[in-house]
Subunit: 434 residues, 2 copies
């Protein structure tokens, strides 16, 4: 069964919109044992859309169309399909009634342009949308079923789950069943990993995929249910080879890993961020349930805040500078004591593009982890990285230190793709005794 996706919209012409629906859909279908075969993205020109519908209608079994069902004049998916079908648009009274109710409930007059959303090609089956004013619809053209969905993610996702899946089960008998296992690696490059793994004997039916999404690399092990045993053997050898380079499984960030672990271990955390400026906090707080462990954070971006809020000693700032092991150590232990948390993380560095010097070039960052007994501090250097990348990598190194201590490992480790300049371990009681 050949499933394809068509995303419509001006983004192909003018850019700037990142298409998250497509990524979500591919992942979701995969989890259901269905594979997306191809994705086409195209602008808002009606003729182009019509041509594309005709083209794909002879190649695919199921084409999911996303977007272009809105009330505005540049929403053209429905019209374009009517042209491809050579059918008129007719009023779908069921949907018109639903829209009237929708607006009545919200005590808003129905905007005139919304009527357009109840006009469907003659042969269309309407697909319900309980979350918005754009109904979906399904039509058959040549070999393919076309399934039209709204672009708004909170309308699109439930429609796929609640309507598309039953539709597929009803209209297609063939089903695919795959095993997918995902491993998150941090701090090592793609070539480095491939060298490590090249010796493993690979069953033909199993494939190993690499995907870099900064600052991580994701390894994907994919194979059919029938090769479950071979896949499991491959996984065993692979995880032994990589050992601690794998920082998580079935997850997409180190923030997610420490979020789970802090909850599990009933430990609390506080943060003192300079160059990451709220990134650590923001990455944790986006998970529901973070209040179980998150005590507080201070974004101490200037020297004044580092002194006044965190108690960093003035002579340390003067003699060793804002970006130094001791400043990071005092920031972390400072917020840990203030908030009475089990752990604290701190970052202070030069994210760029300006502010570097010969001694401390752009990309130099000091990161500390404070625990009730010891503090662990390291200075790392992210060479030739953008401001965003320096901040992202710094956050990941910090979270990895926390992950490691929660797994009873030494917090500071080396990464083949990150330059470690210095590390230090201190007793907590010594941090402010300098």
């Amino acid at each position: 069964m050949k499933i394809e996706l068509i995303c419509t919209g001006e983004e192909v012409l003018c850019g700037q919109i990142v298409d998250t629906n497509a990524a979500w859909l591919a992942q979701y279908l995969w989890d259901q044992g269905l594979a997306l075969h191809r994705k086409n993205t195209i602008g808002d020109r009606r003729e182009d859309l019509t041509a594309l519908f005709l083209e794909r209608s002879t190649e695919a079994d199921l084409v999911i169309v996303n977007g272009g069902l809105g009330p505005t004049t540049d929403d053209l998916s429905t019209e374009a399909m009517a042209m491809a079908l050579q059918e008129p648009l007719v009023l779908c009274e069921v949907w018109q009634k639903k829209m009237d109710d929708f607006f009545a409930q919200r005590q808003i007059a129905v905007p005139a342009c919304n009527t357009k959303q109840a006009m469907l090609p003659q042969s269309a089956r309407m697909i319900d949308n309980p979350y918005g004013t754009a109904c979906g619809f399904a039509v058959k053209l040549n070999r393919a079923w076309f399934f039209f969905t709204p672009g708004v993610p909170r309308e699109f996702k439930p429609m796929i789950k609640e309507q598309l899946l039953p539709f597929v089960k009803q209209n297609f008998t063939q089903s695919i069943s795959n095993i997918l296992k995902k491993f998150l690696v941090f701090g090592h490059g793609e070539s480095f990993l491939q060298e490590k793994l090249s010796a493993i004997q690979n069953d033909e039916s199993i494939s190993l995929g690499y995907r870099a999404f900064s600052p991580y690399i994701e390894l994907k092990l994919i194979g059919p249910q029938s090769a479950a045993k071979q896949l499991s053997a491959f996984e065993h050898t692979m995880t032994q080879q990589l050992g601690d380079m794998i920082v998580g499984q079935e997850c997409t960030s180190l923030a997610e890993v420490v979020h789970q672990q802090l909850k599990q271990h009933h430990k609390t955390l506080s943060l003192a961020e300079s160059c990451t400026g709220g990134l650590l906090a923001s990455q944790l707080i986006r998970f529901a349930g973070s209040s179980a462990y998150f005590k507080e954070g201070v974004i101490a971006y200037d020297a004044h805040a580092k002194k006044e809020r965190l108690g960093v000693r003035p002579h340390i700032l003067q003699e060793e500078g804002e970006v130094s092991l001791m400043t990071a150590a005092q920031m972390a232990e400072g917020i840990r004591r203030l908030s009475q948390s089990d752990y604290a993380l701190s970052t202070t560095g030069i994210a760029g593009p300006d502010g570097g010097n010969e001694d401390k070039p752009v990309g130099t960052v000091c990161i500390a982890l404070a625990t009730p007994t010891h503090s662990y501090i390291q200075k790392v250097y992210f060479k030739n990285r953008s401001r965003d990348a320096v901040r992202e990598f710094s956050a990941a190194v910090a979270f990895d230190m926390l992950r490691r201590i929660l797994q009873n490992k030494e917090p500071c480790t080396t990464y083949s793709s990150i330059e470690q300049v210095a590390t230090q371990v201190m007793n907590s009681s010594d941090i402010f005794a300098v």
Copy 2:
């Protein structure tokens, strides 16, 4: 001239990777007066890739291929193109030498698998990549030029700028010249805007596009250079119609707007975040130069931090609760006084999915702006929104309050798509006198 993009990679099969290169490229090409006509994304199966290359080679003039040039076995773009061309892969000695130097400089042995990256189809022109080990290349197949680029953004982007653009100028004489103007709208829905704008007389050659990217809607005005006068007239009427709903031009977030304005006005800012948890800080600090105005931030996620760090009065927390106008007011004025900044923003709310009650359902957020003389506070309700959306919308409302005061407008305004529950204005000196 018909330009297309092909993105390769497992993401079509297993999802989860969001394709930012495509969005960046489309935007970049547009700014050069070139339009991207179509985008195809396809998995890492060689036969699929070969078939797609052949298919597009008769339709497009220029096909930019992104990804699949890495050293690992699932990087198959080069091989697939050699098959489409029916040509052997041959060693590109220039590139082999470059790679040897690349690794020598870094004092790393050349990984065996990297040799693959110097093998190109026989008729290929090598394209230099000063930032990594994957060179690009260009080949002609049927009607189209194919231009292969690496997937890593920091290698991809310079290659497009430094190599593709001269390549296009050299190989294609036809050029397109468009005017594109972008307007950022916050707090109003697409239908609402369309109703407002439907009466404006529209010159045929000018098109108005709507694009929702939560929490914003972007309006795009597009037309040929030859219609510059009509476009300007349309813009004038449109901006008059929408007035203050337009929160920015040629920008993509309110954070970007206030970042510019704070620098321009030489004003300083501090933050006290609860439910947004570092999102405000992070959105500002990602811009270089934010140290000019950003003093400090406190992420006061629990009641203890609100009291101890920001001085929120215990009886306020007890009687009015953590999510209340007075708590927000004391948070903002608290951090403003501590950091001696001109302005401060605070947020406190229930982002969900749990923690709501009848009085304060999930989505209830109090947001305050403290200035040297007054504090402005509002309680808003984001109904049926996800945790991420509540946090994103809260950050945008907070930034909009700051934007408005910097433009000498009342900080609290109403938005047709956001429910405003209450607003309050207080003298700064009264904030803690309760």
